[in-house]
Each structure stands twice: as C-alpha cells, then as structure tokens.
Amino acid sequence: MASCKRPLVLTRRQFVSTAVAGSAAAIVGCAPAKPGDGEFFSEDQARTLAVICDEIIPADEFPSASQAGVITYIDRQLVRYYRRHRDTYKDGLIRAEATSVQRFGKRLSELSPTQRLELVASLEKENRPFFELVRNHTFEGYYGSPRHGGNRDAVSWRMLGLPNPPLRGRAQYDLEKGSSS
C-alpha cells in the first residue's frame, strides 16, 4: 500500500489530481485524508492506531496518547527516522482490525471500552513485535521532546511536575559567581 502523502495546502490543480489519486487510494483501502492529516497513515489507519495508543496511555485528568499528539509523532517518524518500521505498522494494523472483526464483529474504533482493553491485551500476547513497537513509540511520543510532534504543549512534563519551559538552572545558579545563589 502506498503511503498517503499530501501537502497541507492544495492548489486547484493539486486538488484535482489529489482527488483522483484519493479515490484510487480509497479502492485499495487508503482513504483520502483531510488536510492536516498524516504523512504516512490514512485516516482509517490513524483511527485504529489511536485506539491502541490510547489503551497504552489512556486519558484521565491528563490527555491520552492521541490527545497529546502521539499519532502525529509516530506518523512523522515513519516518513523520517522509522521508515524501517513501516511494514510492521501496516501489517500490525491490518491484523489488529482483522482480530477485532473476528472476535467482536466490529472495527476497533467501534468497540466498547471493555472490548478495546481486551483486544489490546490480546495484541500484546498474539502480535508481540508489533505491540512492543507501538508501546515504545507511544512512550516516546508522550514523554519525549515536543519538537517531534508528540507531548503537545509539554503536557506529560507538566503532568510530572517538571517546569516548562524547562528550568535550566539559571534561576538558581549565579553564572558569574559560580555558586548557588
């Protein structure tokens, strides 16, 4: 499956050609994405992945993985540093959906909260390499630097009580004297 790469702002000519490409993509299961959507994932893939990531880091008084930008983080890396993981994601998401349909007769995004938890727990056992990859990347996107598209507004750092913008010691340290002030 080709990745669904789209510019954020389309000229009229691009719009026409993209619409054509988009409808072709829809036939092979790569639905057209809205402007601003991912560079790698289709909207469907992103939705499926978000269900999994949000079980790994669910919302409570702080945002869930997808709310904090983890899907954006993973999506960006798959066209940059994590190109080597593309197949694992593509196959893993297909298998996850297949399991969902087989077990519950529904797509992942349509499952009840209990069913989602059950399904993701089964992924951990039945497709370990995929699950471990998603788990690691979810933690990277949530707890890592906001510059890579995740950890939106440094939300996880604030959750942990770490000052942001990060206190770099200047406030408590006098560079001239070279001692704690």
Partner: protein, 550 residues
C-alpha cells in the same frame, strides 16, 4: 599533499591530547576525524536524539545510514546493527569524540586496577593480565590531565584512592538533594561517600564559566561549554600552535606501509569522498577500541597479510567495557531537585577486597532521569501500560533514586572485534564484527554490586527497590570500550609496548582505550587521557627529528 611528522587518526579524548602534545613540541601534525565539529547551535536538548538515548539516532555520530556493524549472538548467528542500536557498541564520531557529550566522570583507576592478575590470579578461561605500567607511572599524567582538561571534585572523604600529589583544581559542585540523602545513608553503613570527580567546571576555569546545572547532561553537548572535553581544551591549543591541521569528515581507509614494513602514512576518504594520501613520519591510531582494531585489521599488505600489528593474532581481542548493575529505590518523599548533572556521589569501598570476588567497581547515583528514562524503571508490580502505568509515572518520577556502577570486567581472548567478511560501510570498507563475551565471573560480581546498591538505598529510606542485574549474551563494550590492542612487554600476548608503540611497526602507535589491559571499575575517560599524555611524553622524548620537521 605535504608530508608531515605525525598523522593522528581520531580527534577524541586521546587523539586530541596527542595532537596537542606533539604540535606543542614542534612536530607538524594532521589530525583526521571522520565526524564533524559541532558548535553550541548543535547542542539542542533532544531527549530522543542524543548520544545516550538514541531512538531517533545518534546526535554526534555516526549516522545510521552507511555505517553498519555486525554482532554475533550466543548461537553464533550474525546480525547487522544500526549505529543507534545498543548492540552496535557505539561511542561517537565527532571532534571531541565521546568527551563532547559524556557525563564527564573523571576517575583515576586504583593502583590494584593495573595489577589485576597479580592481585587475584586469572580465572580459567579469562585473559586477565597486569598492565606493564603501574599507577605510579601514570600519576604525573593523571595530574596533568586533571589540570589541563579541568576536573572538579574532592577525594578527601575516601581512603580508597591512589597517592596523589595535590588536590583537584576545582572544588565539587554544591551538593544536591540525592547527595545529602545518600551521603548520610552511606556513612551509617560505615562506607566512605565522596564527590564524583567531574570534567566539569564548578568555578570559572580555562577561560570558561561554570556548570549551570541543567537537566540535560550525559548524552548532550554542553550549552554553556562548562563540560570539559578535548574539543574545548587541548584541540584548540593544538590548532593555535599553527602546527596542527584538523580535517573533519575524513575516514581513514588504511595505514600504508612500505616494502620494509614501516608506515608511510595513511590513505583516507576526504569529506567529499575523494581518496587522499597523507604521508607522515609516524602514524597514531586513536579511533577508540572497536574502530582502532578495525583500522589495523583493514591495513593489510604483503608484509602484513592479517593486518598491521596482528602478527600474533592479538588485534581486536580482549574487547571489554563495563558490566553495569545496580538498583532503583522508591521513596515516600521527593528526592528529585531538578538540579543537574544529578550524578554527584560515589563510593569506592567495593572496588576491591571482597573475599571470593575478583574485583568490583564503584557505585554512584545516576544522572538526572528524563521522563522517557522512567517508563521502564517503575516498581516491579507496575502494569507495563495503561492507567496504572501512567499513574505510576506520576507517583514515582520525583521519588526515585538509582544507584549503579561499572563492574570491572574480566576479559577473555574470545570477546573480540574482527572484520565482517561481507558487510561494507559507505566507503566500501569491511565493518566491525563483534563477538564473544567477558568471563562469567564478571556477572557474579555484578550481582553482588546490585545488592550492595539495594542495601544503600534501603539505608537511605527507600520504601521499595528493584534490582538491575542481568547476564548479557554479548560483550558489553559501548562507550567504555577498551582492550583491543593490549599493551604489554611480550609481543605474543599484546599489540603495543608500554609506550603504545606497535610491536611489529615502530612508527605506528595506538593511543586510546584499545591499549587498556583491564578497564578499572570506573568510567575510563581520565585514564584514556592520562595514557595519552604519558605516551605522548615518551614519543616526544624519543623524537629524534627528521628532515621533514617543520
């Protein structure tokens, strides 16, 4: 290209010092470095891409693209590794080498560390050996490194150190919260806690300001240039002499030898990928243990069919690093103060002298943990994911102390670097292949050290702990890699003599951690530096001059 007195390969901890010492003595020097010279603009605090957490790549080289290596698992199956993967056993590729981004712990080894075989006897199957030189031989050069590179700290609270002529040039940084908590606890156990010696300014020194105590230290370059490596100390001095030419982006292909078996210089690919030759009176190999061995093995010729200096099949053997173990302690009070660098306190009570154990190592608290480092360091009963994991991150991130340390490894001849028969790098050169393991007694010592770390944490008031101890299937060399061109008096069991001169070729020197016979129970940077000063001193004293002398 103009012939020079010396070509030094690798601008890291050792190469920078050798270049400075030779250039200052009046020799003409070309310093070749395969990586780049990074500036303050490259010092971004990226917790996913630095030299320690490398999930998005090595910040200071080498790139994943075109720099593969091969490692061999316990079943003997080879696997290709990317430069950012742990099994690659990377150090760094840049001006400053590992010292640009290291944590900057700057220890002297103990006198016993140079006499491991005499002290303990070699376990069967090991290649444990004494160094041909002693702590006393190196002492003046440890001193020189401490003053020229710039080390802060205070040894006065511990009896476990070798004789020293004077104190460190800078006092330690003011203690943080972990120092207070762990210091009290260690003293209550009858131990001797003290300030970790650091290549880090605590006061203005060498024309640069002190550490500003930020959260990003080990793995990162210093934003205010308060961390002292070769890139901001000796290399600028070398360049200022006018005798040293630093060329970055240059990958050495091989050392060229003449038909009498002496080195003529090196062939290297320049930054544009063009093959160049640099002729020199002497060649100094300072590429770090894995890459120095690779370069010698890649320097094959009619007289040296198995590689330069490898007549007795010693090049690449005895690869070692450190076996890190320790424990995580969880507290019911906040232990986190957000004041860098974090690692502040250590004990050397357990480096030697435990009946039944052939060695040990220092134990110290860890550098500041970034949130990403905590996700797999939570208490043992924490769910691996889900709300329970998220809540545990909140509960424990500021209430955790980690103590760990580098158990001195017992080397074997089988833990080694060879050339991979098929995998090539972007220049078409055979790549490093890493196989074998250190002696298993190492892991027994490591397990004891982990329990000692745990006891220290309990004494400090930890409500629970988890042990970090393991038995790796492959030698763990990485950033502390050493041993592949062993120093020794007997050419049959070593590659270089006590002055770091290759036994087989008298104008080739290996000066870096490759020559370490054993690697101490400490981070090895200061010892690499001391050996570099020591070997440079001998080199300059024996330098007779040539008609090429500029």
């Amino acid at each position: 290209m103009k012939r020079v007195n010396a070509v030094v390969i690798g601008a890291g901890a050792a190469g920078g010092i050798v270049a400075k010492e030779l250039a200052t003595a009046g020799l003409s020097v070309v310093l070749l470095e395969r990586g780049q010279w990074y500036t303050a603009n490259d010092c971004r605090k990226d917790d996913l891409r630095n030299q320690r957490t490398t999930v998005l790549g090595n910040a200071f080289g080498p790139e994943d693209e075109g720099n593969p290596r091969v490692w061999v698992d316990a079943q003997g199956t080879p696997h290709t590794a990317l430069a950012s993967e742990g099994v690659y056993q990377n150090d760094a590729a840049c001006v400053g080498g590992g010292t640009l981004s290291y944590g900057a712990q700057a220890w002297r080894f103990l006198p016993q560390d140079f006499r491991m075989r005499s002290t303990y006897g070699a376990p069967q199957g090991s290649s444990l050996e004494d160094w041909p030189i002693s702590y006393d031989d190196l002492e003046p050069f440890y001193d020189k490194a401490e003053y020229e590179i710039g080390i802060s700290g205070d040894y006065s609270a511990t009896p476990f150190h070798g004789p020293r002529k004077r104190d460190l040039p800078m006092p330690p940084l003011p203690p943080g919260r972990e120092f207070e908590i762990l210091g009290r606890a260690a003293r209550s156990l009858g131990l001797h806690p003290y300030h970790i010696p650091m290549a880090r300014n605590s006061i203005p020194y060498n024309g640069r300001g002190p550490c500003m105590r930020c959260r990003w230290c080990v793995g990162f370059a210093c934003e205010v240039d308060a961390k002292n490596g070769s890139q901001n100390t000796v290399i600028p001095i070398a360049l200022n002499t006018g005798n040293c030419d630093l060329r970055t982006g240059c990958m050495v292909k091989e050392i060229i030898t003449d038909d009498r078996g002496r080195a003529q210089g090196v062939a290297y690919f320049d930054a544009r990928g063009k093959l160049q030759e640099q002729l020199a009176d002497i060649v100094v190999v300072s590429c770090c243990a894995t890459e120095s061995a690779r370069l010698l093995l890649n320097s094959r010729s009619r007289l040296f069919p198995s590689g330069l200096g490898n007549q007795n099949d010693q090049v690449g053997r005895h690869l070692q690093g450190h076996h890190y173990t320790g424990a995580v302690g969880y507290f019911d009070v906040e232990t986190y103060d957000d004041i860098g660098p974090g690692a502040t306190i250590a004990i050397s009570d357990y480096n030697h002298g435990t009946p039944g154990l052939k060695g040990g190592g220092m134990l110290a608290n860890e550098f500041i943990r970034l949130p990403i480092h905590m996700v797999d360091r939570l208490p043992a009963n924490t769910p691996r994911w889900g709300l329970g994991h998220k809540k545990a991150m909140r509960d424990w991130h500021k209430r955790t102390i980690v103590i760990m340390g580098p158990t001195q490894q017992i080397p074997t001849a089988d833990a080694r670097v060879t050339l991979d028969p098929s995998v090539r790098d972007r220049w078409g050169l055979p790549v490093v292949r890493i196989s074998g393991n250190v002696h298993p007694h190492t892991f027994e010592i490591g397990a004891v050290q982990a329990h000692r770390a745990e006891s220290w944490l309990h004494a400090a008031g930890a409500v629970s702990t988890s042990i970090m101890s393991h038995t790796p299937e492959l030698v763990s060399a990485g950033q502390h890699q050493a041993g592949t061109c062993r120093m020794g008096d007997d050419p049959k069991g070593s590659v270089v003599n006590r002055y770091c001169q290759v036994h087989d070729v008298d104008n080739v020197f290996v000066i870096d951690s490759s020559v370490h016979v054993t690697n101490g129970g400490f981070n090895p940077a200061l010892t690499i530096m001391a050996v570099a000063y020591y070997a440079s001193d001998a080199l300059v004293r024996n330098w007779k001059g040539t008609r090429y002398r500029s």
